[in-house]
């Protein structure tokens, strides 16, 4: 199990790149999978940083990774903040909309879902748990 503990500050997200590099090496990820993993993590963690702990600083976000080389990689993002299901709250994305009609934002969770094979949210023991699975077959 690989772990990256951070707090709810955007600057803490600078640690994600190194974490993704570590995963890529440990699980021998192809470059496109590494990119998609980086994308899903950036989006999902940004979401937690922005919404989990309104008006509070230095609050914990736990990022965990586990898996089996050549089979699958499972990433969990756990916070103890307000109940928030990003999968339910995410707006529908109209990818055919013109520039003028496009809303600013709303693409984050869409990209998480597109980049991973399975994404599940769970509220348990006062924690938000987002589990993202990537098949490595």
């Amino acid at each position: 199990m690989y772990k990256l503990p951070i707090t709810n500050d955007i600057s803490e997200m600078e640690h994600l790149e190194e974490f993704v590099n570590e995963m890529a090496e440990a699980f021998n990820l192809a470059d496109d999978f590494k990119f998609q993993l980086g994308l899903a993590l950036d989006e999902a963690v940004a979401n937690v940083v922005m919404y989990a702990y309104p008006d509070k600083e230095g609050m914990p976000i736990h990022i965990e990774a586990d898996g089996e080389q050549g089979k699958k990689l499972i990433i969990r993002i756990i916070d103890e903040g307000v109940e928030f299901n990003p999968l339910a709250e995410a707006p529908e994305v109209d990818t055919d909309a013109t520039t003028e009609d496009r809303e600013i934002g709303g693409l984050g969770i869409f990209l998480v879902k597109e980049s991973m094979d399975d994404v599940q949210y769970e509220r348990k023991d006062g924690k938000n748990i987002l589990t993202m699975t990537k098949n490595l077959l």
Binding site: G38, L39, D42, A46, T95, D96, I104, L107
Partner: protein, 100 residues
């Protein structure tokens, strides 16, 4: 992350170097504003050395494109990697810009 700006007579170029992730997107406001000054002309975004982009970066591209559309200019994205092109396709951004 760095955006190297080159101003020409009737166009501006922004050479994106590094990773345009959530952290980086919060730090390139002045460069994006500079590019926006050419909203009525041609803005070339060279992604040859851009390694990564997430939705925070896409948001900056969309804001720039909105400025450009309003002033009848043009935003061109050049030399994007396959991974970045894939993100542009998934989000439909590929049809919002001229891609070279």
């Amino acid at each position: 992350m760095e955006i190297i700006i080159k101003e020409n007579a009737n166009s501006i170029e922004g050479h994106f170097v590094g990773r345009l992730d959530t952290v980086a997107a919060t730090k390139v406001g002045s460069e994006m504003a500079k590019l926006g000054e050419y909203a009525d002309r041609e803005i070339l975004l060279d992604f040859a050395e851009l390694e990564f982009i997430s939705s925070s970066g896409l948001r900056l591209l969309l804001m720039l494109n909105k400025q450009s559309k309003a002033k009848k200019g043009k935003v061109i994205i050049a030399n994007a990697s396959d991974d970045i092109k894939h993100v542009l396709k998934l989000t439909g951004f590929i049809s919002l810009f001229e891609i070279r």
